[in-house]
């Protein structure tokens, strides 16, 4: 009986520790000293965030060039820089941004129940999703493209994919497009796992957004190349709570200002710009 009691006590202590641990995930640093907080109309999301002095942003942690997390635990990439631009305009310093990993399963639920304030995660704007969340932007126009081994010359465009096995990620829009195209989708969980079948010849190509493919090609210099022109339009937008019109309008304003004053280009050059050329950003779509 005694060891049972001890075991139970050990389990209880461990679970208390675990519970304590789970409340200490947000950094408890004192708010950084006074850049005077910009003022917003009362009752708007911007005012609430600026007053709280912190913001929760959902981004990808496994997307080359756009959202990656390295061993220092800090996300880096173009989406991350866009998030930082928005936070700066709210008067929130970088270290008070809480980054959460946005996977396709949790993006919409987290926005809907307020666990994240915005999602900047190679989030393709989609009319079906507009019923559930609102989109600011687009802030970048990607397109679906094709990755092949560098010494391969048989695949040059999407028509060469028909009837052949092509790798993509489960549940993503590019995977659905491949099925529509008539290729045979071979689905993995991460893009990194897609490269192995390509190497061993079990798929003829990997297909997803061109920026992700460019990132993969850059990580494996000389082994792969991106071919063909993008054959779809993937506008990346910023997801926020449905029907928050004031917040959406404000984000669109900030984006346009960032285009004009060079901070967008600076964000691009310091991250994705190392591999991809700069392109003129698209105008935000202020839909009704």
């Amino acid at each position: 009986m005694k060891n049972l009691g001890r075991a139970a006590a050990a389990l209880a202590a461990a679970s208390l520790l675990a519970l304590a641990g789970c409340t200490s995930t947000t950094p408890q640093k004192p708010p950084a000293a006074a850049t005077p907080a910009p003022s917003f109309a009362a009752d708007t999301t911007m005012a609430r965030l600026a007053q709280a002095g912190s913001i929760t942003i959902g981004t990808k942690f496994d997307q080359p060039l756009f959202g990656l997390v390295g061993p220092d635990g800090k996300p880096q990439g173009f989406d991350v820089e866009i998030g930082k631009i928005l936070a700066r305009q709210l008067g929130i310093p970088e270290d008070r941004i809480r980054w959460v990993e946005a996977v396709s399963a949790n993006r919409e639920p987290f926005i809907q129940n307020g666990q994240v304030d915005i999602v900047v995660a190679t989030y393709t704007i989609n009319d079906k999703l507009k019923e559930v969340v609102s989109f600011a932007g687009p802030y970048y126009l990607a397109g679906q493209s094709i990755l092949v081994p560098a010494n391969d010359s048989t695949i040059t465009g999407k028509d060469d994919l028909v009837g052949k096995p092509v790798c993509s990620v489960t549940g993503s829009t590019p995977a659905a497009r491949l099925a529509e195209l008539g290729a045979q989708p071979v689905l993995a969980d991460t893009y990194s796992n897609c490269l192995e079948p390509l190497r061993s010849g079990q798929v003829v190509a990997v297909s997803t957004d061109n920026v992700i493919l460019a990132g993969l090609a850059a990580q494996n210099e000389g082994e792969f190349k991106v071919v063909g022109e993008p054959f779809t339009q993937e506008p990346y937008g910023i997801g926020l709570k449905h029907d928050d019109a004031a917040f959406r309008a404000w984000i669109n304003d900030v984006l346009e200002q960032a285009y004009a004053d060079g901070s967008y280009k600076a964000a691009w050059d310091s991250t994705a710009g190392k591999v991809l050329d700069y392109r003129t950003p698209p105008a935000p779509d202020r839909y009704q």
Partner: protein, 271 residues
């Protein structure tokens, strides 16, 4: 019963020599197999027109010497796994006791709905349950992982405890009742502790499975060991480091699980 003394004769000198010879052959075959595997993995590969270094080439393993990598893997990954696993284990055991109590209650109003509930929880894949809890109850990633694991393993532990209860000699319950204890008291004070002790290997095995199943938290993006290494770091460092990361993750999981099993066996033996 599966001890050697019963199923086959104690080996005589010829049998011992044969056994030694076979052991030597087995060891040689294993060593040869491992060497071949090592050489095959270490051979440079042609791909896309360039030559890739072998799997054990130093260029693939340079990140392992980075202490920041280890603080990230251990601090975020292993800690994430342990946090979820420990709380889920405690909740699963508690839930298992509750379900076993309900399932062996005398009133059919308690027994039958509990039976249906247990069958439902046992039959759902943990992946699906985590996704479900996240979407339907709008909890965070941590609570989706913990509750899914607790509910699933709680049902299994409940069934194990029920089997343990049934295998107890009936005299235990009769003695308790004849002392004037009520049914519930008899269960809690006399029968459950014995059932627990008897099913402890099964329960510990299930808790090891629980710890491994925290790796299914990737579906909701929970930062635990598998996601941190095979997803985040593999994407950060690139596909070249996939094999070293895989090997490191394998070793870490083996270490944690073997330590857990050993700890549980120590606790069980300490009476």
């Amino acid at each position: 019963m599966s001890g050697p003394a019963v199923l086959f004769d104690a080996p005589g000198p010829r049998a011992r020599a044969l056994s030694r010879a076979l052991s030597a052959v087995t060891i040689v075959l294993l060593a040869a197999g491992l060497c071949l595997a090592f050489l095959a993995l270490n051979a440079p590969k042609e791909s896309g027109g360039i030559t890739l270094p072998g799997m054990f080439d130093a260029s693939r393993w340079d990140i392992v010497w980075d202490p920041q990598l280890w603080s990230f893997v251990l601090g975020q990954g292993v800690l994430g796994t342990l946090r979820a696993a420990l709380l889920a284990a405690a909740l699963a055991v508690a839930l298992g006791v509750l379900l076993a109590l309900l399932r062996s209650a005398s009133s059919p109003w308690l027994r039958l709905p509990t039976a249906v509930l247990i069958e439902f929880f046992r039959g759902m894949p943990v992946l699906l349950m985590m996704l479900f809890i996240l979407l339907v109850f709008s909890t965070g990633q941590y609570w989706a992982v913990v509750s899914a694991l607790a509910v699933y393993n709680g049902a299994l532990i409940g069934e194990a405890l029920r089997a343990g209860l049934r295998s107890l000699p009936r005299g235990q319950r009769e003695a308790a009742l004849s002392l004037g204890m009520r049914s519930l008291q008899s269960k809690l004070l006399v029968e459950f502790p014995q059932a627990f002790r008897q099913m402890l290997p099964v329960i510990v095995a299930q808790l090891v499975v629980l710890l491994k199943d925290t790796s299914l938290g990737y579906i909701v993006g929970y930062p635990e060991l598998l996601r941190v290494t095979m997803n985040n770091l593999a994407s950060f460092y690139g596909n070249r480091y996939l094999f070293p990361l895989w090997l490191v993750t394998l070793v870490l999981y083996l270490a944690i699980n073997l330590a857990l099993s050993w700890l549980a066996r120590r606790l069980a033996r300490h009476r």
